[in-house]
Symmetry: C2
Subunit: 507 residues, 2 copies
């Protein structure tokens, strides 16, 4: 193998985390920026990850009784204005359609024309437009619960954008449900939070903390917002999914009423919940290393690649016959309920180039087959969760019988690595001094690598939350749901506190 540069991705995570992230995306050919302000192009390898996410989540939504539907992309300004907090939350960054025609401007160009009587907002979220339909669909308690999900594109005119993490247009799903009672709606809110947590941990191999947002971090218009929070490799938190208990707020603004079991007309209780293409950003930053993307096998576009190595056409023919034999035998094998997704890379490049190409793309398993392997009916296998040079020889039968188990092992392994990272960089901190020290960068050369999560007491006063945010750019990521009640003193003001919350820098 030729002399290789230090790592396949430059800079490394330690050198420049933000730039490393961009370079991983570029090297894996996941997505790119477009000329349209803040909008990304999701390339085939990135889009295939999203399709796997969609397929799996969609199945989980169905299992929990939800049905898909589709609502208009445009929201009339008047709908948008109905819920005061809601409009305040989204009005500053939205795309507004005002005209319906382009006309000759008399100077060889085109000018906008056909002004609309009412401007339309390109949906930044669909509570108000879906609420309008729901107000007609719901009449009696017999119509409830109404459990709807939508897969859609969303536009938020964010100022600072970053591929997958924050883009002006992104893809997501948004669940919208209507219930008879407070309890039913709250149960739904928590059920979907559990679905998100299970999906993140089991499929994306990302350990998450389930918790409630503080008042200041709530979805605009919600009574309560629940979230899953994950630690990235720079030790910052990434909110990876949210489930909102909307109480009767949106039912009132959208007029969703029904005749209850006592024969009275009352407002319903609603929820909404969503995850987006941001999950791909979470996945990249949880697992990737200085050689590029590392994909959890369960959502990888392809599970394995076979790289034939030969010097002449005769060798090629013999090796490709063996490759086809493996391909055929693997058709009978499934992993996580799906057929093995196999690539065969017979391009005109050196095997080293191909190896690094697939390492950077994060494919879980690489299998090289040269003339000697052919003689032994074996493959030389490398795993993406191990060192690039750490390869082992497996014979034909072993490949067929163990491939699914190896994929499962990779999935487990990267999950546990992420759990370990989070464990290493999470601390119970009980003194204000330690807390401030924890969040003050130690190394001026690595300002982007942070200390981690502080598990500290908080008195539930917004003022303390604000002080810490202003002093340290640290926020309460969530009040963990599963935390044990514990007496303590607020990390900021020293007043009494009933439980610890998660403080961290965040995306």
């Amino acid at each position: 193998m030729s002399q290789k540069i230090r790592t396949a991705i430059e800079p490394t995570r330690e050198e420049n985390y933000a730039e490393w992230y961009q370079q991983v995306i570029k090297a894996a050919d996941l997505a790119e920026n477009s000329d349209v302000r803040g909008c990304m192009v999701i390339k085939p390898w990135g889009y295939a990850i999203w399709e796997n996410i969609q397929r799996i989540l969609d199945g989980m939504f169905r299992e929990t009784g939800h049905k898909n539907a589709y609502f208009p992309i445009f929201i009339p300004k008047s709908y948008f204005e109905k819920e005061a907090e809601h409009v305040e939350g989204f009005a500053k960054e939205c795309a507004i359609v005002t005209h319906s025609r382009l006309e000759d401007d008399g100077k060889g160009g085109l000018k906008v024309a056909g002004e609309l009587t009412e401007p339309y907002i390109v949906r930044p979220t669909s509570e108000t437009i879906i609420g309008e339909s729901f107000s007609r669909w719901v009449n009696s308690y017999r119509d409830l619960p109404l459990l709807i999900n939508q897969w859609a594109n969303i536009v938020r005119w964010e100022l600072r954008t970053r591929l997958f993490l924050r883009t002006a247009e992104f893809l997501w799903q948004e669940g919208h449900t209507v219930h008879e009672t407070y309890e039913d709606a709250m149960d739904e809110t928590m059920k979907m939070l559990d679905v998100y947590a299970e999906f993140a941990e089991k499929y994306l191999a990302i350990p998450v903390i389930k918790g409630e947002k503080t008042e200041g971090e709530r979805f605009p218009g919600a009574v309560a917002t629940y979230c899953i929070e994950a630690m990235m490799q720079d030790r910052k938190a990434l909110q990876s999914g949210t489930s909102h208990f909307l109480g009767q707020n949106f039912a009132k603004s959208s007029n969703i009423k029904f005749q209850n079991r006592a024969g009275e007309v009352q407002y319903a209780y609603t929820t909404s919940w969503g995850v987006s293409t941001r999950l791909i950003g979470a996945l990249i930053m949880t697992h990737s290393d200085d050689n590029g993307l590392v994909l959890p096998p369960k959502v990888a576009p392809s599970h394995a690649v076979i790289i034939p190595i030969y010097k002449n056409e005769e060798e090629r023919e013999n090796i490709m016959t063996f490759v086809k034999e493996i391909q055929h035998a693997l058709k009978a094998i499934s992993f996580d309920g799906n057929p093995i997704r196999l690539e065969i890379d017979d391009r005109d490049m050196t095997s080293s180039e191909k190896g690094w190409y697939w390492i950077k793309k994060g494919i879980p398993i690489r299998m090289e087959i040269g003339p000697r392997d052919l003689q032994n009916r074996s493959v030389f296998m490398g795993r993406r969760d191990k060192d690039a040079k750490d390869k082992q020889t497996l014979n034909f039968e072993q490949v067929i019988t163990s491939l699914a188990a190896i994929l499962e092992d990779i999935q487990d392994n990267i999950y546990h690595k992420a759990v370990e990272l989070r464990k290493t960089y999470t601390q119970n901190i009980d003194s204000k001094e330690d807390f401030y020290k924890f969040f003050t960068p130690k190394n001026a050369e690595q300002p982007e690598i942070h200390a981690g999560f502080a598990n500290s007491h908080w008195c539930e006063d917004t003022a303390c939350e604000e002080t810490i945010k202003n002093d340290l750019k640290v926020t309460i990521r969530c009040i963990p749901i599963n935390a044990e009640p514990e007496e303590g003193k607020c990390i900021c003001c020293g007043k009494e506190s009933k439980r610890r919350v998660i403080f961290a820098k965040s995306y």
Copy 2:
């Protein structure tokens, strides 16, 4: 059964075809209009049809080597202006984003603010925005062919809208490909036309005619447009899919160049092709009857429903045990490569109400099970392609062993009905007088039911096409690809013609 009104859908097709169409959609709960001008809400039963269409077509696109990706919804005005014919075709009906913020208007409302330096068009089709990416992705002949598909929402500010057939926002897929040579691009254009035709006939059970559009009906900017055309039950034609050979037109406007095998830099050849939620409109108008929707089993959200009939809780328990037994046994059965999709309707309604509910929704098979059926371990089965009263008794084993074959038979049966309809209402017409008579409504009370397709000679002169369009509102739907060359005289001017074309009224 109680005295039933004449048909489940009123008016009937003969009475008022356009209204019948709306009522079928309403009765099947497929979609509804929204307050947003021309935009529809696709409800779960309608959206599930679209998901089946997506799943099947997506598989066919993959089989033919295409990969999915996602591009920005917004197109900068400057991109849009690049291809002159293209912009002319879409500029008159588009949604234009001009602002990025809502501000307090000082009167308790909100006003638009944050004017953009360049307006963005919400994509009416994506040739120009995708072309911009392709110009960067394509450098060498080694990068070709580039075969990309996108599933997306599209906005065209149509003046007259109609659910599924023509809406301001619709869902579609758009394929965009780049090739080395004229021939390669033309092969792709025809291959995807074949994919569409196969899909329409095999899955939607809609017979189609593959043909080329005349110059006047071409996609704006295309060198040639090919289409599939279907006959609806009012004998009008519905264009159900198009495949465009774009030559080098868009490669030139988007600057898609590559180094060819001779080492020279040249413009590439591109294609684009699409089908949309309009296919659901085609499906409704091809198969439905005066009792409502009729679904082709291969795209039906559910294949069959079981309706338990009982008078008390004891009967209910016994019957539901049998229902569960059938449900369990059917899990081992597949139809068209997928599991049987079964509904169990145990709602608190009469069995007659339930039966009509499912007839109107177009479910292919209904199975009633009452106490007597339970004794015989049998079901009373009705097929949606037969008269509502035409039911037969099948025992448990027959249900399990024959259900897939019955679904196949329904699929074939409705396809052949549609073929027969088209045959009945298609005529070779060779005299101008007959032609004009053919397209003149015979019955003033049924102005919406037309005569059908005229297979007539045309001299290829646009003037003749225009004359007929102005006189009769009849257009050339396509120049059939599979037509035999035949000498004849133009139906309009009498000049020499080399082949027949399809004339019809159309959607």
